[in-house]
Amino acid sequence: MAEKTVTQRIDLNELKSGGFIKQTQKDLFTVRLKVPGGRITPEKLTKVAEVAKKYSRLGYCHLSFRQSVEIIGVHIDDFDAVVKELATVGQKIASCGPRVRVPTACGGCEYNPNGIMDAQSKALEVDDKHFGTPCHHKFKMSFSGCPIDCARTREMDLGFQGVVYPVWSKDLCNGCTLCAKACQEGAIVSDKEGRPMFDESKCVYCGDCIRACPTDAWKDKKKGWLVRTGGKHGRHPREADLVANFLPDSKVNDFISATLKWYKENGKTKERIGTVIDRVGLGKFKKEVASAFR
């Protein structure tokens, strides 16, 4: 029997946004699964295990650095079956190549006491709206619920990190000094009466003072996202630049769209957005994208 042609063997539409990565071994591919924010239901995880057991010719999975589950050693002839079987539980294939990747996120503010913004919900929403958008190069985003920044927004093409603005009311303060103890940045120093002296220039907007205060004298005035762009890892790492602070939750998708548009217009093929910023200047990005969100 004659060997089937490539187009007969696989549905090329499935390959459109990548997710099937060529391996050293002939005809074997890594199938990268979409796990936005790294959160997966036991139901999906069970199905992934089942499929991996059946189709991985090397007998293992790999947890990628961007929170995806990868099934290693899938034969090209098994692509369709793998996609179909995973689809029974709604498990989709991720991406590779020059496009918007699956967003990563920290564990989540529903159970982490440091959480300020809902990184998990945002990652899902953003994945839904922007995943797979073609770009000049890869485009990685992440969401961290607080300034501890577990999702490493400084290494992202576009990163969002939760922040909270603390305000203090004199009337409720009993001078206990716990806020000054809780502040790890030296932004709060107690005066002689134990009352806080706040130096905003040192504040990272983590909210530790609010959480420590036993009398609710420290409260949150507003919450939002601190935005960084132009970060990357790899051979030539670049730390992202701060481009916006206290971006309202409702403006995140608009900010992403505006950034992608700017990247498309100002970038060249195979250029990451950080390289574009280095070439044309951060001022241009701030003026043409970030300023509209102030």
Partner: protein, 81 residues
């Protein structure tokens, strides 16, 4: 500090030398054995313990009614929720 707050502790634990999160767990277990409205006195080391334990107590719903600096350690009075 409000004048009517009860400042005589019903129970006491010295948590100096006890590391996080054991110091919080010991506080929590002690509070569980007490009645609502009773006051627990704890002594915490400066540094990580005084930074972390008070916020955990607050998250559990209890009220810290007094904080006293004791040179290198802190004396806290906690009113059970």
């Amino acid at each position: 500090m409000a004048e009517d707050e009860k400042l005589v502790p019903d129970d006491h634990i010295d948590l100096r030398g006890v590391l996080c999160p054991i110091n919080f767990v010991k506080t929590k277990l002690k509070l569980e054995m007490m009645d609502s409205g009773q006051v627990l006195e704890i002594i915490l080391d400066d540094g990580e313990p005084i930074r972390s334990v008070p916020r955990s107590i607050k998250e559990e719903g209890h009220k810290i009614i007094k904080v006293e600096n004791m040179e290198g350690a802190y004396r806290l009075l906690i009113k059970k929720a």
